[in-house]
Symmetry: C2
Subunit: 337 residues, 2 copies
């Protein structure tokens, strides 16, 4: 059985309050008393029972992070950054996977398991604008992603439209005119896919290039296999194109593989550009030009914002915080053709 405050107090010949004072660095303690207590603590190998402390204080020192799936590289890298930022603040992270399923996301928001934490960083994928009311929860929450806007909570996200527009403009400036898209979501109006497609369309319009649905590839999931499959579909249509904009890196990498297998030279015949700034995009063949949407900033800001809320800025208006993006120029899409 682990030692308690009482055990330490008995051994040191003081009251539990004194021991508590020592542990919590209360300033006014006689040095000799402190020494006795510290000796007793190390002799017994005492560590405070955090559960008891939490019950008393109403805090747990943990936050929850809910993402669709850690085996998706984007969310793995996001989680790594969130955990690092939380650790720097002395907080641990409980990770939940929702599978991007709306029902599981809604269930999670009501789950008593969240009681183990002081707040939630939530990245939904299945919920939509209609579910905005479900976000009105009794605990501090920071929302990530682009499924829901104008919710009742702080929202940290990226400039999807602007970044996709800039990416498309980059391809146009490099002399590409027939820019295929991989990863659009059929009929979708919200979410990353829709916003990035909008940025793409805006850039085309600004350049006077007509939009052509024949070079837009639709899919549901954003796995590598989907990128490959969608690219094959576009190729099978027999249409002409000189660039591919993958709506994320994973799709772009899958598409790039198919292009090469089918004998297209990248970037000579077809330039390829992704979105997410994944580590692995730097090591594909050719290396992938991509948009870094500011994921690291998003992770740090989400943690900082959540901890502020937990610390008591409960009354303040919900804020939306937008990350800066940048294009990471690599081999798959050079600036000049």
């Amino acid at each position: 059985m682990a030692a308690t405050l009482h055990d330490v107090a008995r051994l040191a010949g003081v009251s539990i309050k004194t021991v508590s004072n020592v542990i919590n660095d209360y300033p006014h303690i006689r040095p000799t008393t402190r020494e006795r207590v510290e000796a007793a603590i190390s002799e017994l190998g005492y560590t405070p029972n955090l559960t008891a402390r939490n019950l008393r204080s109403g805090r747990t020192g943990a936050i929850a992070l809910a993402v669709p799936d850690l085996s998706l590289a984007y969310f793995a890298e996001l989680a790594a950054e969130v955990i690092a930022a939380a650790e720097a603040a002395g907080v641990v992270v409980l990770v939940e996977q929702t599978g991007g399923d709306r029902d599981r996301e809604l269930e999670l928001l009501r789950s008593p398991r969240l009681k183990l934490t002081d707040g939630l960083i939530f990245s939904p994928l299945g919920m939509g604008q209609d579910d905005v009311a479900a976000l009105d929860v009794a605990y501090p929450m920071v929302l990530l992603g682009e499924r829901i806007f104008d919710g009742p909570t702080d929202h940290v996200t990226m400039r999807n439209i602007d970044a996709a527009r800039a990416a498309t403009e980059f391809l146009i400036a490099a002399g590409r005119r027939r820019i295929a898209v991989v990863g659009a979501h059929e009929g979708e109006l919200i979410g990353s896919a829709a916003l990035r497609l909008r940025g793409y369309v805006e850039a085309l319009e600004a350049a006077g290039i007509p939009y052509d649905d024949d070079i837009v590839g639709y899919t549901t999931l954003w796995h590598r296999a989907n990128g490959a499959e969608t690219m094959r579909e576009i190729l099978a249509r027999g249409v002409d194109f000189d660039a591919v904009f993958g709506l994320n890196d994973t799709l772009a990498l899958g598409a790039m593989r198919v292009l090469q297998v089918e004998g297209r030279r990248v970037p000579d015949d077809v330039a390829v550009l992704g979105f997410d700034g994944l580590d692995e995009a730097e090591y594909s063949i050719p290396s992938l030009t991509t948009v870094d949407p500011g994921r690291d900033w998003i992770a740090k800001t989400a943690v900082a914002t959540l901890l502020e809320r937990i610390a008591g800025r409960a009354d303040a208006e919900p804020r939306t915080l937008l990350a800066d993006f940048q294009i990471l120029q690599r081999e798959s899409a050079p600036a000049v053709r």
Copy 2:
């Protein structure tokens, strides 16, 4: 303020014990009483305070998973599987990153933050056999990996030597004789690198092929950049080789990129084989032949074993559980040259 048992009891006109009975599905309750209590619960939106329950029961319903870094694909996929297995058992997972640093690993083992959980699944990378004593902790733990053997805890791991030997034999059977290695750790005797290298050497010896240090590439980290850099070093030596065994997939993918950039055809000139069975190995160009070391089984078994320990098999002897491996045959290393 959230409702408590007392609030519910008062509203339902019963004692808190009765409410507690209802919540915990205690069988002998008069139906009318149960209804009254349930009505009160839903009227108040009561959910039990898990912290209080934990303090009482001594359990938290959470386990910790400590890995080097979630941005390493192997650990991200492992974490995804651990979290899924834990969720199926009704347990949540707190994820810690150690950076693979020995001091941080040792510190973690003593961290009071672990008090928030019932046990730990620990995948060390910096600790070694000399640190085995540090594993003798007061809480349930399951060890992963190959840094420490014969420790005082359950150990779930893979057949590194056998699997690496089988991988090398596969290349030999395919007619390769000069098999380079990427990712060896200089002077290391324990850990994945050392064990996999041993399997490689055993296979060479069994086939009567001399070991040649000139085609063994050393590195410290197992990032993609290290695989690329190590491959460049081997190429710079001007030695001859017809295959590359990457000690993990990430290294193999980095190496394969360099080979292709330098004009070697994969697999015609050089076959490439990895280790880990990562998802992405299926979508490289060419797709990567690799060893699946049984990661999914490891994750499920680690969770199940830890939960058994937590449930009270504390006395039982520590067990070592070994996963089955298999070679996933793809394009980068065909069975026949």
